[in-house]
Symmetry: C2
Subunit: 216 residues, 2 copies
DNA sequence: ATTTTAAGTCAACACCTGTACACTTAAATT
DNA sequence: AATTTAAGTGTACAGGTGTTGACTTAAAAT
C-alpha cells in the first residue's frame, strides 16, 4: 500500500513456469495430439518442471485450456478489427483481407491447431466457448455488412445468414490450410486462390439477393 | 472343399461381440468423448466382454476406428447417389435434397458425431481417411454439376471450387446440427432454413459466374 | 466320434495417470 | 533484519492403461 508498486507480480526463483506450461501444451498440440488428449504430466515434463508444480498456476488441465483459448482469440479479435476498418468492399479488398488473415493463420499455427482440434473434440465447456467466439465474429461481420449501401435492402436475419456463409467457409479453409505442411507454400497458395474465388462467388450471390418474406 | 458351404462364418458360443464392440464405441462417442480418447478397456466393458476378448476381433483401437469410419460412410455414399439421381437443380429440388440429407444425419447421429470429432482431432491416418471421403463427395458433386447446361461455360477447376463451397458449408451446418439437443426440433428447423438460404445464395452466385482466365 | 479352431475367460505385468502431503527456497513485505 | 508467502521439489498412493500368456469351451470340420 505504502509502496508505489501496487502489489505487482512477485518473482520466484524462476518465474516463467506459467508461460512455459502454455508453450509446452501448444507444442504438444502441434506435434502430438489434441489438447484434450494431453496429460498433465506430459505437459509439465515438456515444460521442464515437476508435475505438482502445475497446481501453482492452474487448478487443472481444463483451466489451462481455457487460458490458451483466450490467448488464441484475443490477438485474432484485435487483428480482425483492424481489417474491418477498411473501406467499402470490392474485389481488391477481398483479396487483401484474405491474404492478411491467412498470413496470420500461418504465423499462429499452434493456436489455430489448438482451436481447430477442440472445436469438435473438446469438452462441452470448451466447445461452447469456441463456438461463442466464432458467433461473435459472425455478428460483427454482419454488422459491418449492414453499413454497405448496396445491402440496404437485406434484412438483419439474412445478413446473419450471409455472414455465417462466409465464416463457415473461411473456417473450413483454415482447417484445410492447417492440414498442409508448413513448407508447402504452393498448396497454401492454392487454398488462398480457392478462398478468393469462393468469396467472390458469394459476393455475386449477395448482390443478387432479395429479402422478400421478412421485414426489411 | 467337398462341402457346399464355402467356408462360411463359424459361430462361437456367442458371436455378436464384434458388433457389440462397435456399438459400444459409438455409444461412448455420443455420451462421453471422441473415439480417439476412448480406451480399449472401457469399450470392452461397455460391450460386456473381457478386455482381452477385444483382440479376437481387432488388432487395436485404431482398427476399430477405421471399421467404424467405413460403416459411417458406406450408407451415406449410397444415399447420396440416390439423391443425386434426381432431375435438374431448381430451388424446389434444393430444399428436398437438404431435407433428405439432414434427416439422414438425425437418424445416424452417432456415426456423424464420430466422424465430426475425428475430422480434426483424430490420428493422421483417420484424418486423411475422412478427408478423402469428403473429397470424393466434392468430386462427385462437381461431376454432377458439369452435366447441367447452364454451367457449360464453367471450367472444371471452377466447378470443383463451387462444389467445395457447397460441401464446406453443408459440413459446417452438419456440425452445428449435431451440437443441438436431439429434442430441439425448432433449432434443427432453423439450421435447415439457414442451409436452404445459403445454398440458394450460392446458386445465385453460380449463375453469375464466368470462368475467364482458365480454359473453358 | 474325433479333431481343429475361433472366441471367450482369468491372472499378471509394467507403465502412466491425477493428486495429496510435507518439505524447501527465494523473493517481496514488513 | 525478520517474516510472510508464492513457487518450486520429492515421495507416495490408488486407480486406469495396453498387452502377454495360459487356459477353457463350443461350434465347425473331419
Amino acid at each position: 500500500m505504502t509502496k508505489e508498486t501496487t502489489s505487482r507480480s512477485r518473482k520466484p526463483k524462476r518465474g516463467q513456469t506459467r508461460e512455459a506450461l502454455m508453450a509446452a501444451a501448444l507444442e504438444l498440440v502441434v506435434k502430438k495430439a489434441p489438447f484434450s488428449a494431453l496429460s498433465l504430466r506430459e505437459v509439465t515434463k515438456k515444460a521442464g518442471v515437476v508435475p505438482t508444480a502445475f497446481y501453482r498456476h492452474f487448478p487443472d488441465m481444463s483451466a489451462l485450456g481455457l487460458t490458451l483459448l483466450d490467448e488464441s482469440f484475443r490477438t485474432l479479435r484485435h487483428m480482425m478489427r483492424q481489417v474491418r476498418q477498411e473501406e467499402l468492399p470490392n474485389e481488391r479488398m477481398l483479396r487483401g483481407s484474405l491474404e492478411v488473415y491467412f498470413n496470420y493463420v500461418r504465423n499462429n499455427r499452434a493456436h489455430f491447431l489448438f482451436v481447430s482440434k477442440e472445436l469438435a473434440g473438446g469438452t462441452p465447456t470448451m466447445r461452447n466457448a469456441i463456438r461463442r467466439e466464432i458467433r461473435m465474429f459472425t455478428n460483427e461481420l454482419a454488422m459491418d455488412m449492414a453499413r454497405f449501401p448496396f445491402l440496404n435492402h437485406v434484412n438483419a436475419e439474412d445478413l446473419q445468414m450471409m455472414a455465417g456463409l462466409v465464416v463457415n467457409n473461411v473456417t473450413a479453409l483454415t482447417q484445410e490450410m492447417l492440414e498442409l505442411e508448413e513448407i508447402d507454400e504452393t498448396g497454401q497458395q492454392e487454398v488462398l486462390m480457392t478462398a478468393e474465388k469462393q468469396l467472390r462467388l458469394i459476393y455475386f450471390g449477395v448482390g443478387m439477393w432479395r429479402s422478400d418474406k421478412s421485414s426489411s
